[in-house]
Symmetry: C2
DNA sequence: CGTCTATTTGAATGTACTCAAAAGCGGTGG
DNA sequence: CCACCGCTTTTGAGTACATTCAAATAGACG
């Protein structure tokens, strides 16, 4: 796998959403930097400024919030073609509300706020594209919020494995529990209960 | 209060965020339509397309999701200077995940998707402004989600009245319970408990 | 004043949590 | 290859918080 092909994933992602000229593509490639995160390495920590927004080429990250009691709450897992960042911290340079950590060796393309701003000035379609992406992200989170408010852990778990059937192969069970907002013990009991019903 | 002054609220809101020429202002005014929602009137219903995005001039709306059991979950209250809409439904014309209803007589300025698109083409700075607004909305919801995951109802209630000290004068208690994700009975007990601790 | 709606209170229930310990699994080094 | 270690998952017992269902009280509005 050549360096070039890492960028081709990003260009493909953009091209599926907006029309790009050859010069646009050159500008994009020069704005993003390739980087490898080792397993358990952080892209940014909660409480520090999120200086980079990243596009995942290969591997996986988790974005999570650690509460005052020390419990972690996973906002989402970022696999191939997902974005990793704290929107608020990245755009305002204030401390991040969450951390981003690689679950395995992960290849990413990163950009800092200045470069992204400059890129928006050079390729104005990107401004529109990122607005649409942010709208979709907001809408997905709204639905997840409603699901959390209206249902119990069982419903959240069932919807998760329906939406991402392979998730249990990709991340350990205690991380899934953290995503669902329950303890690993509770998820274990939940799965046992579901299994017993199936018999 | 003259019709003109309704628009002045919107123009002030925009002018605080981006630079507008006189012709920009004229375009904005011609894109938005003034409308009054009577108490309990809906701007859009869950399951139907959200055809209008609205800016609140006076009054208040609630945006909420009704779950399968018939319970309501308030996403947010929209007062003066807030936006009312379902971002996903408005932009894709798919069915809305929530409803928007006036809590009292409410004055709004509305725009439909076509007009908003046309306005973006005419006043490109707006595209940027709405991207920033959507980012902030996303960030606020992320924090609320983390609060919901990490804390109990007491913590959510205390943070709400700290952030919006006047909220209890503006909306009835059962609506606040719905916002907090608990039943009115639970909120009643919670407040009693907090009051007893104070003595 | 009377009716309708909102709030409070009570008792029993349920879901997920806490604390604790055992069992399973995977990798490492002897 | 197996024994051991650390980490993950499972299981158990007791607890906490919010719910459910039901009824009583308080408030708002015509």
């Amino acid at each position: 796998m050549e360096m070039e092909s890492y960028y081709s994933d990003l260009i493909r992602y953009f091209s599926e959403r907006i029309i790009l000229s050859d010069s646009d593509i050159k500008l994009i490639i020069s704005a993003y930097e390739f980087r490898v995160l080792k397993k358990k390495e952080f892209l940014f920590h909660q409480g520090e400024v999120c200086r980079y927004e990243a596009f995942v080429i290969k591997g996986a990250c988790k974005l999570y919030y650690s509460d005052l009691k020390g419990a972690d709450h996973i906002l989402y897992f970022a696999f191939k073609d997902w974005w990793v960042g704290d929107v608020a911290s990245f755009s305002t340079q204030e401390p991040a509300a969450m951390s981003a950590q690689a679950l395995e060796e992960t290849y990413i393309l990163t950009v800092n706020a200045q470069r992204k701003e400059a890129l928006f000035a050079q390729v104005p379609q990107l401004e529109r594209m990122f607005r649409v992406i942010t709208q979709r992200t907001l809408s997905v989170l709204q639905k997840r919020f409603f699901l959390t408010m209206s249902g119990g852990a069982r419903e959240r778990y069932l919807q998760l494995i329906e939406r991402y059937p392979t998730i249990e192969q990709l991340v350990p069970q205690y991380q899934i529990a953290s995503y669902l907002g329950i303890l690993p013990e509770s998820l274990s009991r939940l799965k046992k209960q579901l299994y017993e019903q199936t018999i």
